[in-house]
């Protein structure tokens, strides 16, 4: 993708987020003039920049949105919910288009139709001017395509031109036609015509034109470029000029619509002068005239104040001097005052007139203006409202502020390197041990240990610093909810206010990213099942508007996120009955299960309390999915609910997933790890106390029967425990205690878990690998799966 487009996409993306946020805030504070201004400015900037590309639909749509916002800003319209909906829909549509542009570099084919619908809606409140036609606004609309086609366009073929003409007719669009005639010796000047032509964006057709007569074989120079090229493209004139900026004199560009093509086909074109745009000396004359006229303009509006006046006169003098030089003339300013500068400017203008008259081929100035203007037709602000300090302050400061956008991969790479550094660092302790034990040099051993301590401190700080880079505020995860709650609330006919708190709480980016879906699900649940309809709420003596509260607080190594609503709460009896009907609990449990525990039934796979399936939270993905994804992150979910008062779901997640604390043990001489979080205790029991229930080995642990799994057997590793005692690692897995028969315990280590790759990648029993200080690879077990495999093997 060309970098200009990439830049535009990135900027537009930022601006669209600003617009969304701004519009939602505006709904609450409709009279915040700064806010209106901010949203307006964002729309305006997108529109302005879109004009650099051939995205007329985008320009038109942003223009309509801008006009509406301008009316709001000017106090001519009051922003209501429908307008906000339409604006949000328009910006959503743009976002979709830009996503399409990101992959294909063009707007989707439906853009025209989709855009027209929204433009109609946006323009409706402006007084029925719902024509989507761009021509309706502003003194200068899209550049009018030339009325006649140059002859060379014919090279594209009559048949193609006919089809194209009817297609252009139907869509009222136009194409840019380019003739590129490289000079014969272009190869010797480092030009590569073919390469250049390949870069023409959105080309519709391309035809090389051979010379009318090839030279005789004897005179034929194979290193001379004798071809010229004609092509048609949807790219904008500006884009083409930019592309051909090194060879402007070899290129002709014409913007042609159906009419011109039809005329050309009808053979009328020959009679009319060439309408294409020629880049060359004629334009220098244009520029010069424009500058001279502007100079006279400035001189006619000089201020009284002396210093300001002097700077203006001097600048005009410089400009006039520049023009004179460019035209190969000398000018004198005897007095360096306004009068002599004006006289010089007038003299130059007169000289230009005579020169231009001599050159009839020069395109009319009017045409030049039209062309350089292009599709942005703006009713931009004319009042000095831009002087508002506004929130634009933040916007202005952004570029200047010292924030760096870094690709995620780079941060991940840093983290990996920190991991490797840790491994290398840990190797020093082995080295120290070896110095003492193998070589009997305790002094050296001590020195190595000292060195290790120093490195350890630095490595820890480095790790903390890198982890800090990965930290994002929870506001990233919360950002989408104002919109989601608003839209869903409207859809469900419920009035809901979203309150967020603690958005500044930081957590690792992986946690934040993985948190998105569970949170959406919880909030949807609250809206759909928790919050009652306004009338029901009023009858129950509550306020008609419900509140959903999203809060985040950090708690040691964890971040706690709560989704709370003041809705109807969970009906424990109904939940129990439902669970019984679905066969999730026994009849006995139905009778005895305490109400407080009933809510936990919601987390069982396949549970859904909504009587009807709605398209909001849907069926299937229930709380069990939320629980599963939170647990995958190493977190926990709990729920409290009070009938009539509301429900609180609390997620507790590790602040960071990058570093895992792992308990290391070995079986059959091979070391394994399990996350320390899951470990309950380590016990040593007499071999004789291992009993059997059915085919499962068990131990009694303070009166509790705990199943024991033989990991070596499960993984088919040859090992049989020896000695009079057995070491057992007791863990929480899937809500129950499980023991693992272990040969030997090692220490706990902090590791950076890497996903399994290669042959073992599909093996579910391992959740990842980590490198230990002595260079050995540690396999970290996924206990749930290990138990599954063990159950199979039994």
């Amino acid at each position: 993708m060309n970098p200009l487009l990439a830049q535009f996409l990135a900027e537009a993306d930022d601006l669209l987020s600003q617009v969304d946020e701004g519009l939602l805030r505006l709904e609450r504070e409709p009279h915040d003039a700064d806010l209106v201004n901010e949203v307006f400015r964002a729309a305006h900037t997108i529109k302005g920049s879109s004009g650099l590309f051939d995205f007329p639909e985008l320009t038109r749509l942003t223009h309509a949105a801008e006009d509406l916002l301008d009316a709001v800003r000017g106090g001519r319209l009051e922003l209501d919910a429908t307008m906000t909906d339409d604006l949000l829909a328009a910006f959503d549509l743009m976002r979709g288009w830009l996503a399409h542009v990101t992959t294909t570099e063009r707007l989707p084919s439906s853009a025209n139709a989709d855009g027209a619908v929204l433009i109609g809606r946006l323009r409706a409140p402006l007084g029925g001017q719902d024509s989507p036609a761009p021509a309706g606004h502003g003194p200068q609309a899209a550049p009018a395509p030339a009325a006649t086609a140059p002859q060379w366009v014919g090279a594209l073929g009559e048949e193609w031109l006919e089809t194209t003409a009817s297609w252009l007719e139907a869509t009222s669009a136009s194409l840019r036609f380019v003739r590129y005639t490289p000079e014969e010796d272009c190869y010797f000047r480092g030009e590569d015509p073919l390469h250049l032509l390949r870069q023409v964006p959105a080309a519709e057709r391309f035809v090389p034109v051979t010379p009318a007569a090839w030279p005789q074989a004897a005179e034929y120079d194979e290193y001379a470029c004798l071809l010229s090229f004609v092509l048609a493209t949807r790219a904008a004139t500006g884009e083409l000029e930019y592309l051909f900026r090194y060879v402007p004199e070899q290129v002709e560009i014409a913007d042609l619509g159906a009419t011109a093509l039809t005329r050309l086909l009808a053979g009328e074109a020959a009679a009319v002068a060439e309408a294409g745009i020629r880049l060359g000396d004629a334009e220098q004359a244009q520029d010069a005239r424009a500058l001279l006229e502007a100079a006279l303009h400035v001189l006619s509006a000089l201020p009284q104040e002396a210093a300001a006046r002097a700077a203006r006169v001097s600048s005009v003098e410089r400009a006039v001097q520049s023009v004179a030089r460019a035209l190969g003339r000398d000018v004198e300013f005897p007095a360096h005052d306004a009068e002599s500068v004006e006289a010089a400017a007038r003299a130059l203008l007169a000289a230009l007139e005579t020169a231009v008259v001599a050159e009839e081929a020069v395109p009319a100035p009017a045409e030049e203006t039209v062309r350089s203007l292009a599709p942005a037709g703006p009713a931009e602000e004319t009042a000095p409202a831009a002087l508002h300090p506004a929130d634009g302050a933040a916007d202005g400061g952004k570029v200047g502020s010292r924030t760096l956008k870094v690709e995620q991969e780079k941060v991940d790479r840093l983290m990996e390197l920190v991991g490797e550094l840790n491994v290398a660092k840990n190797a020093l302790t082995f080295l120290a041990a070896s110095a003492e034990e193998e070589f009997g040099n305790r002094i050296l051993g001590r020195r190595i240990k000292d060195q290790y301590a120093g490195m350890h401190r630095i490595a820890e700080e480095l790790q903390a610093a890198v982890m800090d880079v990965r930290m994002l505020p929870l506001s990233v995860a919360f950002a989408r909810f104002p919109r989601l709650v608003r839209d869903l609330g409207r859809k469900l006919g419920k009035s809901v206010e979203l309150v967020t708190d603690g958005e500044d709480t930081m957590a690792d980016k992986d946690v934040i990213e993985a948190l998105g879906d569970p949170l959406v699900h919880l909030v949807r649940n609250s809206l759909d099942h928790g919050v009652e309809a306004p009338r029901v709420r009023v009858e129950a003596g509550k306020e008609a508007t419900a509140t959903i509260r999203l809060t985040a607080v950090s708690d040691g190594d964890a971040v706690v996120i709560e989704v709370a609503d003041d809705g109807a709460g969970v009906d424990p009896e109904r939940v129990k009955r439902k669970a019984y009907e679905k066969g999730l609990i026994t009849e006995e449990q139905l009778e005895t299960l305490p109400e407080a525990e009933a809510v936990n039934l919601l987390f069982l796979p396949g549970f859904s309390t909504a009587e009807t399936v709605s398209d909001v939270s849907g069926r299937g993905v229930g709380m069990d999915a939320v629980k599963a994804s939170v647990e995958r992150l190493g977190g926990t979910v709990t729920m409290r609910s009070e009938r009539g008062a509301g429900t609180v779901v609390r997620l507790r997640l590790p602040l960071s997933m990058a570093v895992t604390q792992v308990m290391v043990f070995s079986v059959a001489g091979q070391r394994f790890g399990v996350p320390v979080d899951a470990v309950v205790e380590t016990v040593r029991v007499p071999a004789g106390e291992i009993g059997r229930v059915l085919r499962q080995e068990v131990i009694q642990l303070r009166g509790e029967v705990v199943p024991v799994v033989d990991l070596a057997g499960t993984l088919r590793m040859p090992w049989s425990p020896a000695g009079a005692t057995r070491d057992v690692l007791v863990m929480w897995v899937g809500g129950q205690k499980v023991g693992l028969l272990v040969e030997r315990f090692h220490r706990e280590v902090d590791v950076i878990l890497k996903p399994m790759e290669g042959l073992l990648a599909d093996h579910p029993a391992f959740s990842g690998t980590a490198l230990l200080g002595d260079g050995l690879v540690l396999l970290v077990l996924n206990m749930k799966e290990v138990l599954g495999v063990a159950a199979h093997a039994a």
Binding site: K47, H297, V298
Partner: protein, 134 residues
């Protein structure tokens, strides 16, 4: 003062895409390019650096283009370097305001790139003879 004779342009625009576009165009035409995101920043930069040309957007936060040009021409900056104003406005009054503020040329966006380069080249042709005023 620098003896660098490469003309130094200050592009003033709040839209990053436009700044990028202008930077590309001008630096490929062998200009030195600096950027400012609003009028205020432009004035601050101009106080430190004697630019040879300004390309100024009209609609910007903090300080708009007219005010910016006015400030560049007034004390304490008082530059006589050429200023091209660029805007999406196309009304006679807008051009009037630009010229009253002291701009040397008023163009309408999106600016034809080749034209901007031509104008910039033409206008900075005298830049090297600039004399530092005490």
């Amino acid at each position: 003062m620098s003896t660098d004779r490469t003309p130094h342009v200050l592009v003033v625009d709040d839209a990053a895409t436009v700044r990028y576009y202008h930077r590309q165009l001008l630096s490929e035409a062998a200009f030195r390019v600096s950027e400012a995101v609003n009028g205020l920043e432009a004035v601050e930069l101009a106080l430190q650096t004697p630019f040879d040309l300004f390309v100024v957007d009209v609609n910007m936060p903090k300080m708009d283009g007219y005010a910016c040009v006015e400030a560049l021409r007034g004390e304490p900056v008082g530059t006589d370097a050429p200023i091209i104003m660029v805007s999406t406005e196309d009304g006679v009054h807008d051009a009037d305001r630009a010229y009253a503020a002291g701009a040397n040329l008023y163009l309408v966006k999106p600016v034809d790139g080749a034209r901007l380069v031509r104008l910039a080249t033409m206008l900075t042709a005298t830049a090297p003879v600039r004399e530092e005023t005490p």
